[in-house]
């Protein structure tokens, strides 16, 4: 195991960095640096001024509230609960997510309905604690809680507004379809 210290041929990085007289004179290197920045400046200026509506800008900046970046399917936004067709949550209040959540952000009160099925009478998710780790999604046996791609509207003026109840968390299955498919794919059998 491992290469003993004598055998390793490291790469010396400082070899040709000694400055020539030319480079010592500040000014030429300064000009070189300035050409770099000026190049960026000019390119952006042109790209900025000549930019036509709808065309892709060559500037990297995203004009956020108007324009949004494309999120990869892996993106973990806020956790949301998935709704069944009947408008009820899929969650069976098994409590796994509550258990695994490192931030203890989830608190569930389980109850049984008339059919004898467990359901969460109250499902509180404290967004002011949630660290978007995705564990809840990973452990949930029912695909009932998923990390949606939502990230907007989370800023609040009051900390109490960040406490989300079940009603605030429920999303239709369609709206999180992509995510459900994604988790099915990544936690598929073939990966184990």
């Amino acid at each position: 195991m491992g290469i003993p210290i004598g055998k390793l041929k490291p790469k010396k990085v400082r070899k040709n960095i000694d400055l020539t007289l030319w480079e010592r004179l500040y000014i030429f290197e300064i000009i070189r640096g300035m050409t770099v920045t000026t190049k960026h400046f000019m390119a952006n200026l042109v790209g900025f001024v000549l930019h036509a509506k709808g065309k892709k800008r060559n500037i990297i900046t995203v004009y956020y509230p108007e324009e949004k970046v494309e999120l990869p399917p892996a993106y973990r936004g806020r956790p949301v609960l998935v709704m069944r067709e009947n408008g009820k949550e899929r969650c069976v209040a098994c409590g796994l997510c509550e258990k695994i959540c490192p931030a203890s952000a989830i608190s569930i009160i389980a109850e049984e309905n008339e059919n004898g099925d467990r359901y969460p009478a109250s499902y509180l998710l404290d967004m002011s604690r949630c660290v978007f780790c995705g564990f809840c999604e990973e452990v949930c046996p029912k695909e009932a809680i998923v990390m949606s791609s939502e990230y907007e509207g989370l800023a609040k003026r009051d900390r109490n507004d960040l406490l989300c109840t079940k009603e605030m968390l429920l999303r239709t299955e369609n709206s999180v379809k992509g995510r459900i498919e994604y988790i099915r794919r990544i936690y598929a059998k073939c990966n184990y």
């Binding site: 500037i59 990297i60 900046t61 995203v62 004009y63 956020y64 509230p65 949004k68 970046v69 490192p102 931030a103 203890s104 952000a105 608190s107 509180l124 404290d126 967004m127 002011s128 604690r129 949630c130 660290v131 978007f132 780790c133 990230y151 907007e152 509207g153 989370l154 800023a155 609040k156 003026r157 009051d158 900390r159 109490n160 507004d161 960040l162 406490l163």
Partner: protein, 186 residues
């Protein structure tokens, strides 16, 4: 647990209300002036980046080329609290850090706003232990809470826009705010 969460978030309500300005509050000119003033404040946040932890990475990104907080006129970091308007509390505040945060907040010149960036600043996040402060609103009044660990730059910008709205709604009499300085007893 729910009880503690229901704690009144921050004390950003106005403190020393000036009666004269109340009386004048109705006059049209004053409201106009107020609006202009708020407009100026809203687009000119000089921020004091109180960056301590991982959220700082995302904070760099927010200021960086891709998200560019400067578009909102809020990218100019001033490391002197006298010149800053917006205290960005970015990251975990430990008990060791708490007096410093309070001091910096106290030393900021009026009017000032506080932005809790990331769940650690909002509530302590998942560091619920002996070392961390459970939310900076236990220390100083907070104007806007942005959860996320760390929040996406978009969430921060969202928060900033919310804060701008809040500034727009503010009145002369809201400043200086806070009836008394935030205490810093050790």
């Amino acid at each position: 647990m729910i009880d503690t969460l229901k704690r009144k978030g921050g004390c950003s309500s106005c403190g020393g209300v000036d009666d004269d300005s109340r009386l004048l509050g109705g006059s049209v000119i004053l409201t106009k002036l107020e609006a202009i003033n708020n407009w100026g404040r809203k687009y000119s946040f000089f921020q004091y980046p109180f960056v301590t932890a991982c959220c700082g990475m995302e904070f760099m990104s927010v200021c960086g080329p891709k998200y560019d907080l400067d578009r909102f006129g809020a990218a100019l970091p001033r490391f002197s609290p006298r010149q800053a308007d917006l205290l960005m509390v970015v990251g975990t505040i430990s008990h060791k850090q708490a007096p410093i945060l309070v001091k910096v907040y106290n030393q900021m010149a009026e009017p000032k706003w506080v932005f809790a960036f990331g769940v650690c600043a909002v509530s302590g996040g998942f560091y619920d232990n002996y070392a961390t402060v459970q939310g900076i609103d236990t220390l100083i009044p907070v104007d806007i809470y942005v959860p996320g660990c760390p929040p996406r730059p978009e969430m921060v910008i969202d928060g900033l826009i919310k804060l701008q709205q809040k500034v727009m709604e503010s009145r002369w009499s809201d400043y200086p705010k806070g009836a008394s300085p935030v205490s810093n007893d050790k």
